[in-house]
């Protein structure tokens, strides 16, 4: 709110806390009054609210002072100026409210993120009227989308960034759409309560223990991870790589030490088991498992995930990764 009031003094502590309390009650009242909205909602006049901004209040005081001045000097031209400004104030109020009424909001999806990242809710706003809508933005307590204009018939996707902290489904219980157009004297807004949810994966652990050793799929003996059948590519030489695998020709050309990689028919896989992790905390375990899943996904190896009550056999690819992460995200959330 203080950004709306700037550069004029914002109300001091008590007043602002009163304001916050009033705003919360007002929002609750609005939710009760409006109910939960469908995924596509058109704004009707009765749910578009309006209040003057700080600038608007200063403007009001200014026009009142001008009125007193005009009366005192009995100056008819400054009466004209004063009344034009008063008229502009009235017009601005109606224009501001009309700038929102009739807009259609549709939830257009969101992509899952890891806890700590910003969830980006996409909401499409469509202007079905024959006049342009200007200076529209979406917001949620303290967070704002970019400002966009909507030409007649135009539909734009507004991205509402919401920071995340915990894994699981987080729902966007409420968000708002607002405008200050035309003169920032009034602040017109509407609250929407759509059933919008986004999935948050657990935060990947920054320092995870070494993943459990790889098991070669064929045979029973434990073996070096790399099969040695088909040449798959080159990678930077790492300590421990066999000198037999160093690409000497490439070294002669570029002076860089590279190792040959082989994708073997002798595929290997890893099992990430919830119970094997020697840490007590559930969230920490999930974090470590998440880290392992992400890292394993980057290599070409199959990996499997074993959680109490769920098992994902070793596999590879986007679907598998998504299924694992989803299971980690929602682990034990239902029982909470």
């Amino acid at each position: 709110m203080s950004s709306i009031l700037w550069p004029f003094p914002s109300p001091v502590g008590l007043l602002s806390s009163l304001k916050v309390g009033a705003a919360t009650r007002l929002r609750r009242w609005a939710h009760k009054r409006q109910g939960t909205d469908p995924a596509t909602t058109r704004l009707i006049p009765r749910r578009v609210y309006i209040l003057p901004t700080g600038v608007g209040i200063v403007f009001g005081i200014m026009t009142f002072a001008m009125l007193l001045g005009s009366m005192n000097y009995n100056n008819n031209l400054s009466f004209v100026l004063t009344f034009i400004l008063v008229g502009i104030g009235f017009v601005s109020m109606h224009q501001c409210q009309r700038n929102l009424v009739g807009l259609e909001l549709t939830f257009a999806g969101t992509a899952p993120v890891f806890a700590g990242q910003t969830m980006r809710y996409c909401i499409a706003v469509t202007n079905h009227s024959k006049s342009a809508r200007r200076g529209i933005r979406l917001y949620r307590e303290g967070l704002q989308s970019d400002i966009h204009d909507l030409q007649p018939g135009e539909s734009k996707v507004f991205i509402l960034p919401v920071p995340t902290d915990q894994r699981g489904w987080i729902s966007l219980e409420r968000f708002g759409i607002r405008t200050l157009f035309p003169f920032e004297l009034f602040h017109s807004w509407a609250w929407l309560h759509m059933d919008i949810e986004g999935l948050v994966f657990p935060r990947p652990a920054e320092r995870a223990p070494e993943p459990p050793p790889t098991i070669v799929a064929h045979g029973h003996r434990q073996h070096d991870a790399r099969g040695e059948e088909d040449f798959a590519g080159l990678r930077k030489y790492q300590e421990g790589d066999s000198p037999r695998h160093v690409a000497w020709k490439a070294f002669a050309r570029s002076g860089q030490l590279l190792s040959k990689q082989f994708a073997g028919a002798d595929t290997s896989s890893q099992w990430f088991d919830y119970d094997d992790i020697p840490v007590g905390d559930v969230e920490q375990r999930l974090s470590i498992l998440t880290r392992w899943v992400i890292d394993a996904d980057r290599t070409l190896e199959d990996y499997g995930l074993r959680l109490p009550g769920a098992e994902f056999v070793p596999a590879h690819g986007e679907t598998h990764r998504r299924a694992c992460l989803e299971a980690l995200a929602l682990f034990e959330t239902a029982t909470e």
Binding site: M62, L77, L81, F83, D149
Partner: protein
């Protein structure tokens, strides 16, 4: 203080408009502002723009604080006060300049725009002309556009902002008009307002020293306008009485101290028909009220008649005022004169202008009576070599002697002064009246214009058995000055310079037309005060207008207009008329019993409908094809007709 001071060019789209709004609002103040403030303002504006363009840093907070202090002291030193329109607008201009130095965000410009609104308002308080309203509207449009530019998105052009601003102003105009007409006007201000007294005004000063360098006003500016109720008096009767000078120090005539001079009010009795008229007096910043000689009654409050029948208002006239008055052209003053008053009106410094005094005594004894003596002096002016000129030579000490015997050239002040000294030297009570003489009828407006160039000085002498009697010695020298007036002189020179008389005549007529518009403008717009408003309300049909009725009418009207505005906006933001093809297609989807998804194309919907077996495949395909042709094909009626047919064919 930790705020970054760099600029990033983000204001480039809005800053020029803000600067333009400031410039247009400062413009009318420029003639009154000290040169250093104007220079500081334009310097800061240019500097700020270049800073934004080159993305330089803004000055530090210490520099700005120091500069603010210096400017404030500068204003204080220039004006020695900070209240009033002059110092107030100087301070506003300074504030704008300083605010420019720290304007970093879009929002900072709010302060600048509010300052420019106040600057426009203070220029209106300072002076109001015919062009003031157009000026105000233009500057309001610029300010509004700048305001919209401030929060406009990158894609919005300046022209769009300008059009939006114009549209909103157009919406506000009827509201403003209703409020302007019905808002009750006050008869008296709440508190005294300090006005600029520093600005020079042409007009009549309260003393005169004929012989100083000629400073007779040649200004063609209007002193006042008069509308007569019935007949217009003859040119020779158009004496507009102002103030009366009774004290002569040998060189300068001035008014007497009200507690020292004759204090008994001379009673006046009028004869013949009274003349009623209305005067609209331009501001003089002096208390004098002018009226046709001799004023009998007047409608102005707080206006009093002095002992010598001069009218004065309680406060200087710093705004145009209108008043009604009644005068008698034929009047008598009280016959009695106290010995104190008599000696007051006969007093001249001993030893000043000795030649004049000697001549006066000699002529008086030769004449035998006061009346004969007056005639002798007038005929001396008339018959001897005396000339009427607006550019007389300067006179040294004993100015009356120099004038009467040596230079013999002068205008009304010289003759009035010389005549009064001649009278007083011969013990005839005499005084000088300052005012206007003449007046030009404006045939277009039907009113009379009295200009500053009509300023005049004449005498009054006290005759035994008659009282005060008006004598105009200038009439003895230049009778045409009295019969035809001094009006229009400004244009004669121009015509002669070109060897033509037509242009001057045309110009004069044009100026009369402009004057007629100006007079109406003054009466109805600038002079729309409590009286005019009452009259207008009665004309509208309101019985016994008072402020409550007007206020209620105003509120009702404003609410009605707002309701109309809201309907207008609803229409403006309504969805466009539905495409007939879309309406028909909608009927088709309803009949199919399927809801089209958001963003689902007709083709996809058709596929879904066929899969769901909602309608016969052929029907779905033909409707979809016809819809496609009608919506996106060439605009012809046949596709629409086919669609209509296909849809209505569905059972």
């Amino acid at each position: 203080m930790a705020r970054p001071r760099g600029t990033d060019g983000s204001l480039l789209s809005s800053l020029p408009w803000t600067l333009g709004a400031l410039a247009i609002s400062v413009a009318p103040h420029l003639p009154y502002l000290p040169i250093w403030i104007s220079a500081a303002f334009f310097g800061c504006a240019c500097w700020r723009y270049m800073t934004e363009k080159r993305r330089r840093a803004l000055p530090s907070v210490w520099f700005r604080a120091l500069l603010a202090l210096a400017c404030f002291l500068g204003v204080l030193a220039t004006y020695s006060t900070i209240s009033g329109v002059g110092p107030g607008s100087a301070l506003l201009a300074i504030m704008a300049s300083l605010k420019l130095l720290e304007t970093r965000k879009r929002r900072d410009q709010f302060v600048l725009l509010f300052i420019s609104i106040f600057l426009v308002m203070s220029s209106l308080l300072r002076e109001q002309y015919l062009w003031s309203l157009p000026y105000m509207i233009v500057s309001t449009i610029v300010i509004i556009t700048a305001w919209l530019r401030m929060s406009a998105s990158q894609s919005e052009t300046a022209k769009q902002s300008f059009l939006t601003g114009g549209r909103l102003l157009l919406y506000a105009a009827p509201l403003a008009a209703a409020m302007w007409i019905f808002f009750p006007r006050l008869a008296v201000p709440f508190w005294a307002v300090p006005m600029d007294t520093g600005t020079a005004t042409s007009g009549i000063s309260d003393s005169m020293s004929p012989g100083d360098v000629s400073k007779l006003s040649m200004s063609n500016a209007v002193a006042f306008r008069v509308t007569f109720d019935d007949d217009i008096p003859e040119p020779r009767d158009r004496y507009w009485r102002g103030l009366v000078l009774t004290v002569f120090n040998g060189r300068t005539w001035s008014m007497n101290d009200p507690y020292e001079g004759p204090r008994i009010h001379e009673k006046v009795s009028g004869q013949g028909d009274p003349i009623g008229y209305q005067i609209t007096l331009e501001p003089t910043r002096q208390p004098w009220i002018f009226a046709l000689d001799m004023p009998w009654s007047w409608s102005l409050e707080k206006t009093f008649m002095g002992p010598q029948q001069q009218l004065a208002h309680a406060r200087p006239i710093d705004q145009r005022i209108a008043y009604e008055a009644v005068s008698y052209l034929d009047y008598r003053t009280d016959v009695g004169l106290t010995s104190y008053a008599r000696s007051w009106y006969q007093r001249i410094p001993d030893g000043s202008n000795p030649r004049t005094q000697a001549l006066a005594k000699q002529m008086r004894s030769a004449a035998g009576s006061d009346t004969a003596y007056i005639e002798a002096v007038l005929s001396k002016f008339n018959q001897e070599e005396y000339f009427y000129t607006l550019e007389p030579p300067p006179l040294g000490s004993n100015s009356v002697d120099r004038f009467l015997f040596d230079t013999r050239r002068g205008f009304c002040e010289h003759y009035a002064s010389a005549f009064a000294v001649m009278m007083r030297a011969a013990n005839v009570p005499a005084r000088i009246v300052l005012g206007y003489q003449g007046g030009e009828i404006n045939p277009i407006g039907g009113h009379m214009i009295v200009r500053q160039s009509d300023a005049h000085a004449w005498n009054e002498v006290w005759l035994e058995g008659h009282g005060w009697y008006r004598i105009d010695p200038t009439a003895a020298v230049a009778p045409e000055r009295i019969d035809y007036g001094a009006g229009g002189t400004a244009f004669e020179g121009l015509g002669e310079a070109w060897g033509l008389s037509a242009p001057s005549k045309l110009l004069h007529e044009l100026s009369l037309a402009l004057d007629a518009v100006n007079a109406k403008w003054n009466d109805w717009i600038l002079g729309y005060g409590p009286d005019t408003q009452n009259r207008f309300m009665q004309w509208l049909g309101m019985h016994d207008p008072d402020w409550q009725k007007m206020m209620l009418t105003m509120i009702g009207l404003v609410l009605g207009l707002i309701a109309m505005l809201s309907v207008l906006l609803v229409l403006r933001y309504s969805p466009p008329a539905k495409d007939p093809a879309a309406v028909l297609y909608r009927r088709f989807t309803k009949k199919a019993g399927l809801e089209p998804g958001v963003g689902e194309t007709a083709q996809r919907f058709a596929r879904r409908a066929i899969e769901a077996d909602a309608l016969p495949t052929q029907v779905i395909q033909s409707v979809t094809a016809a819809y496609h042709d009608a919506r996106y094909g060439s605009a012809d009626e046949s596709a629409l007709a086919r669609l209509r047919q296909a849809v209505s064919a569905i059972g």
